[in-house]
Symmetry: C2
Subunit: 334 residues, 2 copies
């Protein structure tokens, strides 16, 4: 068998309506539908090389070889790609190992969702390297198996991920391209004092919160509001539902067992500041993932002012700005 | 009619299982049962004088005459006392106005629940001044009409307030006297940057949170755990349920419409610090009311250490320590 190689790029995404908790933990079938925006400028670039001479899968992240849990997770994902290859008979052996080399152009450990862009890029690169011809929907499903929110980094722009009925029907699709609306995500990176619980473990305990069922039951309504706000470019309507939905997720997080408190003091400072700014006419609202960073979603006109103001809030370590980004894609030129 | 006068004292209380939301807003019939500890050392002293020469009710708080909403609320409460007097025929006229003079020995505006101790002391003083002979249960019911949590400041020590079926059956009673367990409440007073929404308005919007029904439905279980932890003096069990219940209330608050975010940056800092301290063996846990202050409930042995550590957390303005306190009572000597 010859060496099979491909390179792909993908962006992380920020959920405007949050994914939290799974109906099926192994398949990462989500408890509720979600909606996100890809983040242009923040990019994961991943090269995959299936090589019969390798004795095991190899993972190199930002120039360093990763072993342990990180490599195992990628290995399990590659097993699923190899299973697909057997089904479609595109690789000559059922077990050819791969070397995966991945780079983020954004600070590692900053709490930006590198697993979303990482598994989206990996799904696109690994399937192409093996010769699999997958549709966008199939790539999104595949990426979902690596990290739930990665399925939303496969299509471009503004992306919806319905819960789906099963493995086949749970994939994300674009509801509007990146240039539909010039929203900006101004991310306030916050100092972290305590190590927090990772998303995968967090999803696993979502159902221990007595509040999760009510969050899940009302999520489709919020999704419908957010979708229509995005399609109609209605910032005020979007701000209202984005902040409410983020707070719903954190309400579930802090009341799960164990209690997951991702917020730091500066997280609160930024949330409260932005509520005040919006009351005074600035088109900005906040949303927070499973970490302390605050994503300030704002209009293009407000973005510079928002970034300036965020930089002087104590505990804000760095500010990163991203517009709506495109889909995951192969980079034959790299 | 001669002048009728009486003076009473009451302590604020800290809810270990929170009251949030009413089944009946006017009667302040709570959506769920709650459990609290009176706070010794923090005292409201209230003198009531019914005087036929007055043309309206007068309220003097910490030496200053109060008009507007504050006086109206007290006036409506006194109307209910006057109604009771008519029923029992203890005052010669249906409308004799009163002068109410109330003092707190703790800083005003510190966000300590002065309405609980205030209406408990007022219920005891006003009923005695008119000559009404009310039982503890009747006094607790009466105090409830002024401020829901005030009903828990009438009995002594550790106090339970069942939801009750109606006005008659919704009152609080002691489950253990103050000397049953030497718990200490070390209160971290936190700097406030933004004015927050008062409890009465907060209760009124509790049902706008999609999460309130699930909180209410699970509150009796938490109450049973807290009651048995108090009766068995089991600190670890109490800490677990006290923190969970407080987070349940704030989960509802932040997801109500409007969103009520009572926490400040230092609130988060204290919550996270105490979780760490407890993991390292210190018998301490946190609970937070409708404000930014953090009540650190701890063993008597841990109290000095907790106070020392709290004082150096940035944003903690002052630390106040209180043990379990006794019931509201008349002070004929004052």
């Amino acid at each position: 068998m010859p060496v099979h190689q491909a390179t792909a790029q993908a962006h992380p995404n920020i959920a405007l309506i949050k994914y939290w908790g799974n109906r099926d933990q192994a398949l990462r079938l989500p408890s509720n539908p979600s909606l996100s925006m890809n983040l242009d400028g923040l990019t994961t670039t991943t090269q995959v090389e299936f090589d019969p001479s390798l004795k095991s899968d190899v993972l190199i992240l930002d120039g360093r070889e990763v072993t342990g849990a990180g490599r195992e997770r990628v290995g399990r994902f590659l097993d699923q790609v190899r299973d697909l290859c057997q089904t479609f008979e595109v690789l000559e052996t059922s077990k050819v190992y791969a070397r995966v080399e991945s780079r983020n152009n954004f600070p590692a450990g900053a709490g930006l969702a590198s697993s979303a862009s990482g598994f989206a890029a990996l799904a696109v690169a690994a399937s192409a390297a093996t010769g699999l011809k997958l549709s966008e929907a199939e790539l999104s499903r595949l990426a979902r198996l690596g990290s739930g929110s990665a399925c939303r980094s496969v299509p471009g722009g503004f992306v919806e991920w319905p819960s789906g009925a099963d493995d086949r029907s749970s994939f994300a699709y674009s509801i509007a391209p990146a240039d539909h609306w010039d929203l900006v995500d101004v991310v306030a990176l916050i100092d972290v004092e305590h190590k927090s619980v990772g998303s995968t473990e967090g999803h696993a305990v979502a159902d221990t919160s007595p509040l999760q069922a009510a969050r899940v039951a009302t999520a489709p309504d919020r999704l419908a509001q957010a979708r229509s706000a995005v399609l109609g470019r209605d910032f005020a309507a979007l701000a209202d539902v984005v902040e409410r939905d983020s707070l719903m997720m954190h309400a579930v997080m802090i009341t799960s067992i164990p209690s997951l408190m991702y917020w730091q003091p500066a997280t609160i400072a930024v949330m409260q500041a932005v509520v005040q700014w919006r009351a005074n006419g600035l088109a900005a609202c906040t949303t927070i993932d499973a970490g302390p960073n605050v994503h300030v979603i704002c209009s293009a006109e407000a973005a510079d002012e928002v970034a300036l103001r965020l930089r002087v809030i104590p505990g804000v370590r760095q500010v990163i700005t991203a517009r709506a980004g495109g889909p995951a894609r192969l980079r034959p030129d790299l």
